[in-house]
């Protein structure tokens, strides 16, 4: 990995965080985030996402390894790192007794915004995140979405070049989530802000991130653009629900001629099509020839869900793909076990 000085990016080498009497929460990760990039950091609960954010934002010292954020070492130049970054952590840490505008006043003072600019800067950001009407209300009465938006505004008061967002949309309704996505995308596109975004939502990473890193059990198991990662999985999956459950095995036998079996709900059979979408017509003809009546079928293009399952052997919700829950999960079927790397095997880059 390059160790060149990047004023607006992140460079991480061999970063480790070990807790006393516990496992390595982060186990020697390497990655780089380019200036102006939105980097999605994906992983299930307990994978090491938040611990990584805490280290990169200087809240938690690493046990080993190095990282440079905005050109500064996170240990030796911690104060400089803090001056360069904006952070919205997983739980929006707000004071329920302060109003939105009082929060802005507090944060502008904490960040050393010149006194003459504090009020203007605060109101500008409050308006930008759509909270002008609620600015004088105590935050204790805000909805989850309003709190997240205020937290984002607070992270921006000093015009940071680099923004860390730790699961910014967890618990938000779809509309609030979409609004936040728009704002994050705008920040990167118009202001050139580098965004490091952790999320459990694959869709979020797919929509927002220029590149994605997947962390599991403290190790990065995959990294690349969403498109490149999906291309690694490659082939679409076909899921067949026979009209008669007794014909499930017969359907699976037919499907096996067209590729490798893929996980499916108990009442269905699925295959990852070796011949891609072109094989679809032939599959239908074969099923018909074998007398298998079809109640429903779905063709799934590879998604980040598939990538995640293929790389970690788990659904992002934490279920093992071999588990009952995984078998009936609403997410599309993914690649066979043979395509997966063992958990914690390290980056495939």
């Amino acid at each position: 990995m390059s160790t060149s000085h990047r004023d607006n990016g992140i460079e991480v080498e061999g970063l480790v965080r070990e807790f006393k009497k516990g496992p390595r929460a982060v186990d020697g990760i390497d990655f780089a985030v380019a200036p102006g990039e939105i980097y999605g950091f994906l992983g299930p609960n307990g994978a090491g996402k938040s611990t990584t954010v805490l280290m990169l934002t200087t809240l938690l010292p690493p046990t080993a390894g190095t990282a440079r954020v905005a050109g500064h070492d996170i240990v030796a130049g911690a104060a400089e790192v803090r001056a360069s970054i904006g952070v919205a952590l997983q739980d929006a840490a707000l004071d329920p007794l302060l109003t939105g505008s009082e929060h802005m006043r507090l944060q502008t003072a904490l960040q050393g915004v010149p006194k003459a600019d504090r009020k203007r800067r605060g109101m500008e950001l409050i308006e930008r995140v759509g909270l002008a009407d609620a600015a004088d209300r105590k935050v204790g009465g805000y909805s989850g979405g309003m709190k997240r938006r205020l937290d984002l505004a607070l992270a921006l008061v000093h015009g940071p070049r680099l923004l860390f967002l730790d699961e910014p949309t967890t618990g938000l309704d779809p509309s609030s989530r979409s609004d936040l996505w728009d704002e994050v995308a705008r920040l990167a596109r118009e202001d050139g802000t580098t965004v490091f975004l952790t999320t459990q939502y694959l869709e979020e990473a797919d929509v927002l991130a220029d590149r994605v890193g997947i962390i599991d059990a403290g190790r990065i198991v995959a990294e690349g653009t969403p498109e490149a990662l999906k291309a690694q999985i490659g082939r679409p999956a076909l899921e067949i629900v026979p009209a008669d459950i007794a014909q499930r095995d017969a359907a699976a036998e037919v499907l096996a001629r067209f590729g490798e079996a893929a996980p499916a709900p108990p009442n269905a059979a699925a295959v990852r099509l070796t011949g891609g979408n072109d094989a679809l017509a032939e599959v239908v003809r074969s099923l018909d020839a074998e007398g298998v009546r079809i109640a429903d079928f779905q063709l799934h293009a590879p998604s980040l869900d598939d990538v995640f399952l293929a790389k970690t052997g788990k659904k992002l919700g934490g279920e093992d793909e071999t588990g009952e829950h995984a078998a009936v999960a609403e997410t599309p079927p993914a690649g066979p076990a043979g395509e997966r790397e063992p958990v914690g095997s390290g980056s495939p880059r």
């Binding site: 805490l54 934002t57 809240l59 938690l60 803090r82 707000l94 004071d95 007794l97 302060l98 904490l110």
Partner: protein, 257 residues
């Protein structure tokens, strides 16, 4: 230095804003010292008539000094509660992420404790004067007495902050309050130390707060005091508990806030 002052000022502003705008915080801080003062100086006023009790400014002033120092110390403890609460809620991380030097956060909380003490002392003094308290010490004596109150306020804040930084939960409240409560009430609260006897007298003799209380009483009445002992102990307490608080802050930093 400007950034240090920015952070200190911001921490101070938020806590004092919440203190003054929320009756649930403000009223108990005022009412409890007034209650103690009324109960001690009023209800126990005949204690001043016991043989050997020789305090020229009277029993009201005698008790005022204790309540003054007690309120200052408890203000520090309550500030510690606020620190613990900020860590428990995650708000401390907001401050730690903004502060180039995190000692500025501690400095802000110390300023909070001093401000709270100043507010409570002002109200207490007005009430005491209305109640007929005699002050026979001069302006310099009174300044010295207020300095002792400030020292005790800062000491208690540093102690409570050290506990809060280490535990980072409001459940540690009793661990902050109980030692301060004990050390204050094992000092000569109701009568001079010379009139105590038995184990209470023995404990009071070695209690580091005793010289501070006695000095405050000497100052309000204009008597000669052992200033070297009182302020020396005060300075020593500040140094010891500053080290305790700063090492606690470092632990909190190492734990991720």
């Amino acid at each position: 230095m400007r950034r240090f002052a920015d952070v200190t000022g911001a921490v101070w502003w938020r806590s004092i804003h919440n203190f003054l705008t929320n009756p649930a915080f403000f009223l108990p801080s005022i009412i409890f010292p007034l209650f103690f003062f009324t109960a001690f100086a009023g209800g126990l006023s005949s204690v001043g008539d016991v043989p050997g009790f020789d305090f020229p400014a009277g029993y009201t002033a005698f008790q005022f000094c204790f309540v003054l120092l007690q309120a200052s110390a408890f203000g520090g403890v309550f500030t510690g509660f606020g620190i613990a609460s900020d860590f428990e809620s995650g708000f401390a991380r907001r401050m730690m992420l903004a502060a180039p030097n995190r000692l500025a956060i501690l400095a802000g909380y110390l300023l909070v404790a001093l401000t709270r003490a100043a507010i409570v002392i002002t109200v207490l003094t007005v009430v005491a004067l209305i109640a007929g308290m005699e002050v026979t010490g001069g302006p310099l004596d009174l300044f010295g007495m207020l300095l002792l109150a400030a020292i005790l306020s800062l000491t208690a804040t540093l102690f409570a902050a050290g506990v809060a930084f280490r535990t980072r939960t409001i459940q540690a409240g009793p661990a902050m309050q109980m030692p301060v409560f004990l050390v204050l009430f094992l000092a000569p609260v109701y009568v001079p130390v010379e009139l105590l006897s038995g184990w209470v007298e023995a404990v009071a003799q070695v209690n580091p707060v005793t010289p501070l209380i006695e000095a405050a009483r000497g100052l309000i009445s204009g008597d000669a005091i052992d200033g070297l002992l009182a302020y020396g102990i005060g300075a020593g307490l500040l140094v010891v508990f500053a080290a305790w608080a700063v090492s606690g802050l470092r632990r909190a930093e190492a734990a991720g806030g």
